[in-house]
């Protein structure tokens, strides 16, 4: 531990003084050290050292307790933060799911209405085509004079039918 023992004072002083002065300065230091060796300072009482050790032990224990408490507080704070973020996350997720459900259901109901409308239109078209076919057949029959002597009455009846169909069609 003692670097002083290995320190070459003559060389050290030699960097700042001439060799003779450096030698004298190094000797001065050694002699002054002897002065301290000859006049040692008093030592602390053993009982006092024991008291210091006991005090240090208490402080070490307090420091450990404080560190433990700090760790507990930190853990509790982290746990609370995790719980809060999870709760918030779950609530946000629930809210988002509800919104999506609403959007999906409204989209689904819209589609059904549209299909219903299409189906109704199809029915109307089928009826229209059937009536058009029937009229076509009747016209063909008239051209071929299949109905015999009552040709003008048939045409009139056909015109009436046309008028009715036309009116029905635009009524929907």
């Amino acid at each position: 531990m003692n670097g002083q023992n290995n320190e070459n004072l003559k060389d050290l002083f030699g960097k700042f003084l001439d060799p003779k002065q450096a030698q004298e300065a190094a000797e001065d230091i050694y002699k002054a050290k002897q002065l301290f060796n000859q006049h040692p300072a008093p030592e602390p009482d053993h009982s006092f050292i024991a008291n210091i050790k006991a005090e240090v032990q208490k402080v070490v224990l307090r420091k450990k307790m404080a560190a433990f408490r700090m760790m507990v507080y930190k853990t509790a704070a982290v746990a609370a933060a995790v719980v809060i973020s999870i709760t918030t996350g779950v609530k946000l997720l629930e809210k988002k799911t509800n919104i999506e459900k609403t959007v999906i259901s409204s989209t689904a109901s819209g589609t059904t209405d549209k299909n219903n409308y299409i189906a109704a239109d199809d029915n109307h078209l089928e009826i229209l085509f059937a009536e058009a076919d029937q009229i076509g057949d009747e016209i063909t029959a008239l051209h071929l004079n299949e109905n015999g002597d009552n040709e003008y009455g048939d045409v009139t009846e056909l015109e009436i039918n046309f008028t009715e169909i036309n009116a029905d069609f635009w009524k929907g």
């Binding site: 531990m1 003692n2 670097g3 002083q4 320190e7 004072l9 050290l12 002083f13 960097k15 700042f16 300065a25 001065d28 230091i29 002699k31 002054a32 050290k33 002065l35 301290f36 000859q38 006049h39 040692p40 300072a41 008093p42 030592e43 602390p44 006092f48 050292i49 008291n51 210091i52 050790k53 005090e55 240090v56 032990q57 402080v59 070490v60 224990l61 420091k63 450990k64 560190a67």
Partner: protein, 177 residues
Amino acid sequence: MADSNDLIRIINGCKNGNAECFSQLIDIYANRCYGYFYRLTGNRDISDDLLSELFVKLVTKIGSYRGGVFESWLFKTASNVFYDHLRDKQRYKDTLAAQTERLESETAKNGTRNDEQIDKLQVQLNNLDEDTRELITLHYYSQLTFKEMAEIRSEPIGTTLSKVHRGLQKLRQMMEA
């Protein structure tokens, strides 16, 4: 005295909050630190207080030791404890003046007892200026090299060498007078 491996183990133990390691550290350094404080204050009660304060402070500060010469770190802390004490109490000059007066009168009264020889060194140390006294005391009790002392004091090594040399010369002259 602990070798460097033992010292590293003890210091690591202290960093981990091992009270037994602190006890070992106290055993190793208590006498030297006490001598340092006593030579600076000349008062056993104050030295007791400062020594106790130093080791209690080490418990909280040991984590700031990042390697290097442990004595440098320890005695820098001890020096801070001493100067903090003086600043806190604002009694540096009063203390020094009072103790010098007391020690001089006791020396004159009691003749040549061994204790008196110890006190004679203390009296003459107190006649040095504050900075030189601290430097000489630090040099002797910390056992640091001049280079390490210069680093602690943040001054060029030539300045430290010169101050210690002149201070010790003066001290010797006063002791021999």
